[in-house]
C-alpha cells in the first residue's frame, strides 16, 4: 500500500478583484497504515485541502501524489471520501443508495449489497436498511455516510470531520472500523475539531492555520517541541517562586505551583530555594496536552 502525499499544495480563490490564498504551500504525508489527524480552526484550509486531494476542486499550484507518483483519476476512484457537509438522497432507502454509490465505483451489485449489509450490521443499522435516509437520526445518517466512504476496500480514506455528531460509543466503533483499514496498509486522513480525540487516536498530526502547515509530526514529537512545565508541591507556601530568576510562574495555588523553567541552572536555583523553605513533596515535568500545543502554534 502507498502513502498519500501532498506537495506545496496551493489554492487561490478569486472573487471579483480580490483573491484569497485559502491553502498556501501545504505539504505533508498521510503515511500508509497510519491515522493522520488534520487539525485547524474554521477557515484554516482543511476542507479546501481535502477537496483538492480528492480532485473535486482545481489545484492552483502544487500536487497530490499517491504511491510516489502523481495521483490519477483511477486512484481517486478507489479512495473513500466523506465530504464536509453530510447528506445522501433523503428519500431513498439506505441500502439502495449505498449499493448505487458502490456500483458507480465499479463494484458489482451483488457484491456491493453483501458488503453494505455487513457494514450496516456492524454499525447496528441492519434493521434500518430499508428506511429512507431522512427517517434516520443525524448520528445514524453519519454512520451511513461512513459506510459510503469505506465500502469497496478503498486504497486511501479522506474523511472530513467523520466524528462530529457521534456519541462516544459510536466513535469507538468508527475508530475500530478505521483501524481495520490502516491494518490493511491504507493511509487514513481525517479532520477534526476534537483535539482530545485526535490525540488519543492519531499516529500523525498535521496542524493547519491560515492555509499553512503550522506543525506536523507524531503527537509525541509535537509535545516535546513545546516548553516543558514543571509542577512543584511544597510543605509551605509556594508564592516565592515568582521571585526566582529564570523561572516563570504560570500558576500558584497555596503550596503548589506550575512553573516554566528556562534552563537547568534555573531549575537548580528553584529547587535549592524551595529546600531552604522546607520539604519538597513533588517536582515533576508536566507534558503539555495537544490542546496547549495547538494553542501555542496557532497563537
Amino acid at each position: 500500500m502507498s502513502d498519500l502525499e501532498v506537495r506545496d499544495l496551493t489554492r487561490v480563490f478569486s472573487t471579483g478583484g480580490t483573491s484569497r490564498r485559502a491553502v498556501d504551500g501545504v505539504s505533508f504525508t498521510a503515511s500508509s497504515g497510519l491515522l493522520t489527524g488534520f487539525v485547524g480552526g474554521n477557515g484554516a484550509g482543511k476542507t479546501t485541502t481535502m477537496r483538492m486531494i480528492m480532485g473535486v476542486l482545481a489545484i492552483t499550484n502544487g500536487e497530490v501524489r499517491f504511491g510516489g507518483v502523481p495521483v490519477t483519476r483511477h486512484d481517486r476512484r478507489e479512495f473513500g471520501y466523506m465530504p464536509e457537509e453530510r447528506g445522501l438522497y433523503p428519500k431513498q432507502p439506505v441500502l439502495e443508495q449505498l449499493v448505487y454509490l458502490a456500483r458507480l465505483r465499479g463494484i458489482a451489485a451483488p457484491v456491493a449489497r453483501r458488503e453494505v449489509l455487513e457494514h450496516l450490521d456492524r454499525l447496528g443499522l441492519a434493521d434500518r436498511s430499508k428506511d429512507h435516509v431522512e427517517k434516520l437520526s443525524l448520528g445514524n445518517q453519519q454512520r451511513v455516510q461512513i459506510v459510503a466512504a469505506i465500502m469497496g476496500q478503498p486504497k486511501a480514506l479522506v474523511l472530513d470531520e467523520p466524528f462530529s455528531g457521534l456519541d462516544p460509543a459510536a466513535v469507538d466503533t468508527m475508530v475500530d472500523l478505521l483501524r481495520e483499514h490502516t491494518r490493511r496498509g491504507v493511509p487514513v486522513l481525517f479532520s477534526s475539531h476534537q483535539l482530545d480525540l485526535v490525540e488519543r487516536l492519531c499516529e500523525r498530526l498535521v496542524i493547519l492555520g491560515g492555509g499553512k502547515v503550522l506543525a506536523n509530526g507524531t503527537p509525541d514529537d509535537l509535545r516535546s517541541q513545546g516548553v516543558t512545565r514543571h509542577r512543584l508541591v511544597l510543605s509551605g507556601d509556594a508564592g516565592f517562586v515568582r521571585g526566582v530568576p529564570g523561572v516563570l510562574a504560570v500558576d500558584v495555588d497555596g503550596p503548589s505551583a506550575l512553573v516554566e523553567v528556562h534552563d537547568d541552572a534555573a531549575a537548580g536555583r528553584l529547587l535549592s530555594a524551595a529546600l531552604e523553605r522546607g520539604a519538597v513533596k513533588e517536582f515533576s515535568p508536566v507534558r503539555p496536552t495537544l490542546a496547549q500545543i495547538y494553542r501555542e502554534v496557532t497563537a
Binding site: 477537496r51 483538492m52 480528492m54 480532485g55 473535486v56 476542486l57 482545481a58 489545484i59 490519477t72 483519476r73 483511477h74 481517486r76 476512484r77 478507489e78 479512495f79 471520501y81 466523506m82 465530504p83 464536509e84 457537509e85 453530510r86 447528506g87 445522501l88 438522497y89 433523503p90 431513498q92 448505487y100 454509490l101 456500483r103 458507480l104 465505483r105 465499479g106 463494484i107 458489482a108 451483488p110 457484491v111 459510503a148 466512504a149 469497496g152 476496500q153 490493511r184
Partner: protein, 422 residues
C-alpha cells in the same frame, strides 16, 4: 494474501477484469436510478393518472355527444291525417338515415289531450297541421321551445310532403322539380383535415410539449441540486466523470418525458378512433410521430439546460430563480405556437424549440412540403448538440461551486476540478 483473494472474488462476481471498467457504463447506472426514482414517485404517478383520466374523460364525453341518439315522442291528434303522415315519414327518415335521432309517434284523441301530454311530458312535441281546419300552415308545439334537430327534421319532412302535394297538383313530380339541384362540397387545398381540428391539435401538441418539458425539466433540476446541496456530488464525482453523471440524468429524464408523452399520445389517438376524428386518424398519427421525434431530440437540450439550472443553484430554494428563464422560454413557446398561423407559423416551424410544436402542426394541416420537417429536424439536432456542449461546460463549472447562486458566466469561466472531466 487474503486481500488479494478478496479482490479476485469481487472481480469474478463482477465479471469484469478491473474495477475501472465500470466507468464506461456509469451513465446507465445513473439513468436507471433517475428512471426508477421518478417512476416510483407518487406525485408523478398521480399527476400522470389524472392527466390520462382527463384525456380519457374528454374523449369519452365527445364520443358520447357524437354517438348518442336522441329520441323524441311526438304527439299527433289521430284525426289530423296530414300531420300523422308527415310524422310517419319523419320517423322513417330518422330511422333510415342514421340521423342519431329517433322519433316515435304518440297518437292522442284531441288537441286538449296533446297539450296534456306535453304538460305531463309524455310527449316532447306536438305536430299539428291547419289542413284539418281547411287552412295552410303547420305548428310544432312544445312545452318549451322544441329541440332544434327535431324541428329541422320535421321541417324537412313537412316541406317535402307539401312540395310533393303541390307537384302532383301541377302535374309533375318531386324528382322532376328537384332534378339537378344537388350541391356537393369540395376542398381545393387538398387537405382532408378541418382547420378547426388543426387548431385543436396545435393546442394539444403545445400542451404536451409544455407538460413534458416543464415537468421533467423540474425533475432533473431538482435531482441535480439534491446532489449538489448534500455534497453527494463530490462523492459521485470522485467515482465517475461528471460528463457521465450528466449524460445519465439527461437520458433518464428523457426516457421518462418521452414515455409520458407516448402514453398520453396513445391514449389520445386510441380515444380519437372512437370519435368522429377517426376519419383523420392516419394524418393525426403521422403528426404525432413527427411530434415524438422532434420532442425527443429537443427535450435532450431542454433537459441539459435544466441540469445547468440545477447546478447554478446552491439550495433547492434557488431553483425558482435559476429555472425561471427556461420556464419563460417554454411558456412563450407554448403560448405562441398554439396560436400561430400563416407566415409566423412557417418561421416558427424552423426555430427550436418552437419547431417541436409548429412543424408537426404544419404537417397536419398539409402546409409543409415533404422535406421541410427533415430540414427543421436537422436544425433542431444541431441546436441540441450546441446546447449539450454549452450545458456540459456550465454544469461542470457550477457544480462544485458552493456558497450562493452561480451565474452562467462564472459557470462557463470556471476552472474545473482536475479530474472531473471526461
Amino acid at each position: 494474501m487474503s486481500r488479494n483473494g478478496n479482490r479476485m472474488s469481487r472481480n469474478e462476481a463482477a465479471g469484469a477484469g478491473r474495477r475501472g471498467d465500470g466507468a464506461s457504463n456509469a451513465w446507465m447506472i445513473v439513468a436507471t436510478r433517475e428512471i426508477v426514482v421518478r417512476a416510483l414517485n407518487k406525485g408523478f404517478l398521480i399527476g400522470l393518472a389524472v392527466t390520462v383520466a382527463m384525456i380519457g374523460g374528454l374523449i369519452g364525453f365527445t364520443a358520447y355527444l357524437d354517438g348518442r341518439t336522441q329520441s323524441f315522442d311526438v304527439a299527433v291528434v289521430a284525426s289530423d291525417e296530414s300531420a300523422s303522415t308527415a310524422l310517419e315519414s319523419a320517423a322513417a327518415e330518422a330511422a333510415s338515415d342514421d340521423q342519431k335521432i329517433e322519433l316515435s309517434v304518440v297518437r292522442v284523441d284531441s288537441a286538449a289531450a296533446a297539450e296534456t301530454a306535453l304538460d305531463e311530458e309524455t310527449a316532447d312535441a306536438w305536430l299539428s297541421s291547419a289542413a284539418a281546419a281547411g287552412a295552410d300552415g303547420w305548428t310544432l308545439s312544445g312545452w318549451r321551445e322544441p329541440d332544434g334537430e327535431l324541428t329541422q327534421l320535421i321541417e324537412t319532412t313537412v316541406r317535402d310532403q307539401v312540395l310533393a302535394g303541390h307537384a302532383v297538383d301541377a302535374g309533375t313530380t318531386m324528382d322532376a322539380l328537384t332534378a339537378g339541384s344537388e350541391v356537393e362540397t369540395e376542398r381545393l387545398d387538398g387537405n382532408p383535415v378541418d382547420p378547426q381540428i388543426v387548431f385543436v391539435a396545435g393546442f394539444v401538441l403545445a400542451f404536451l410539449f409544455f407538460m413534458g418539458t416543464v415537468g421533467s425539466g423540474a425533475m432533473i433540476a431538482g435531482s441535480v441540486i439534491e446532489e449538489k446541496q448534500s455534497r453527494l456530488v463530490e462523492i459521485i464525482a470522485t467515482a465517475v466523470p461528471l460528463r457521465q453523471l450528466l449524460a445519465g440524468k439527461i437520458i433518464g429524464s428523457s426516457v421518462i418525458a418521452l414515455g409520458q408523452n407516448l402514453l398520453l399520445a396513445a391514449v389520445g389517438l386510441v380515444g380519437a378512433s372512437f370519435t368522429d376524428l377517426s376519419a383523420i386518424l392516419p394524418a393525426m398519427t403521422t403528426t404525432m410521430l413527427w411530434f415524438v421525434v422532434f420532442f425527443t431530440v429537443g427535450f435532450v437540450a431542454v433537459a441539459a439546460l435544466y441540469a445547468v439550472a440545477g447546478s447554478l443553484a446552491s439550495r433547492t430554494e434557488d431553483l425558482q430563480y435559476t429555472t425561471s428563464p427556461l420556464m419563460m422560454l417554454l411558456m412563450g413557446v407554448y403560448v405562441v405556437t398554439f396560436s400561430a398561423d400563416g407566415m409566423l407559423e412557417r418561421v416558427l416551424s424552423y426555430i427550436p424549440p418552437a419547431s417541436i410544436v409548429s412543424m408537426p402542426v404544419r404537417v397536419l394541416n398539409g402546409d409543409a412540403l415533404w422535406w421541410e420537417p427533415l430540414v427543421s429536424l436537422l436544425v433542431l439536432v444541431v441546436t441540441t448538440l450546441g446546447a449539450l456542449l454549452l450545458a456540459e461546460r456550465a454544469y461542470r463549472g457550477a457544480l462544485m461551486q458552493t456558497g450562493g447562486r452561480v451565474t452562467w458566466k462564472t459557470a462557463l469561466a470556471a476552472e474545473r476540478g482536475t479530474t472531473l472531466g471526461a
